[in-house]
Symmetry: C2
Subunit: 185 residues, 2 copies
């Protein structure tokens, strides 16, 4: 995932070069020193919100045009490129496929739990829902003092703003797809 200040860097530089403005000219228009403009463009600085505001106003462009980088229409994500999150002595693995970003209201994970493996999750922010589909194995989910056992092909949806646990209660590796959903307030 690209860092926000690098996105800003690209957008600002692209805009400036497109308009054929010098650093000095931008400094004059925005009231931000040309040194700082240069550092921002090179990704060497994470400007404060007031600085970004000065730039957006001085250049007469929107705040978001500086921080939104156009998503490609198609995005391929290979497992080998995914950073794995493991714990319980490596007995489960979480693969973040599509992490949260700005205005998307959900994120997508895949979770593998070895036989006997156990996963305890802290409550997510209020309102969060979890949608799970089991692909392989058997999983027992405990939430709100209720226990649900799911097998391959089963699914469940629950409010995830309370503590909850996952347990591989079957005889083989369990694999599930998990969607975390954050409803708009």
């Amino acid at each position: 995932m690209e860092e926000i200040h690098l996105i800003l860097a690209k957008n600002l530089k692209a805009f400036r070069e497109n308009k054929k403005l010098s650093l000095e000219k931008v400094a004059e228009l925005t009231g931000v020193s040309k040194t700082m403009i240069g550092q921002i463009e090179r990704g060497e600085s994470s400007p404060t919100i007031t600085t970004i505001w000065k730039i957006a106003n001085g250049l007469k462009i929107s705040f978001t045009s500086l921080i939104n980088h156009p998503q490609p229409d198609t995005q391929l994500v290979l497992r080998k490129d995914i950073q794995t999150l493991s714990e319980d002595h490596g007995r489960y693995r979480v693969y973040p496929y599509f992490p949260f970003e700005n205005d998307k209201r959900f994120e997508v994970y895949t979770v593998e739990i070895d036989k006997g493996g156990y996963l305890s999750a802290e409550p997510h922010i209020e309102g969060t829902e979890e949608l799970i589909v089991v692909f392989d194995g058997e999983i027992t989910i405990r939430v709100n003092n209720d226990e649900y056992t799911l097998e391959s092909g089963d699914s469940i949806r629950f409010k995830a703003d309370k503590p909850h646990t996952y347990h591989n209660s079957g005889k083989s590796l369990a694999r599930v797809n998990m969607i975390l959903f954050y409803p708009a307030e």
Copy 2:
């Protein structure tokens, strides 16, 4: 016009209190110290873009929901509340009615020029257009070595990314409405 970091302050505090989260909890969710969260909420700090990004992601809300404060449906602007911009020894006055803001692509001024008054304008950013309607008096506008004389009821539209001048060529006070328009790229 409200300062950007105060808008952020309000939005963040409103969100946190609405969700009934403590500063400490927000700090834990976002990876930003609770001291900093507190200072941001009190408007005592202009956070960097990376800090805002951490907050938006940790709270699972969009970047813009933190910086956009909802415009009221109706906005009344009285002349007495407008900050006047004068020069040429006070022989002209510029009244900024609706200044540029974020995603609006234009701003609105009224300009008064006394008899004989003269106004020289630096080029605006590339692509900028000016739309002028004359209400009273006579004005001569010079742009690109061309000269246009307008009387009450006349109007003109021109590319304002080159130097241009306004001159009250009539016998009385001249008043015009001016719109500066910044086309999207």
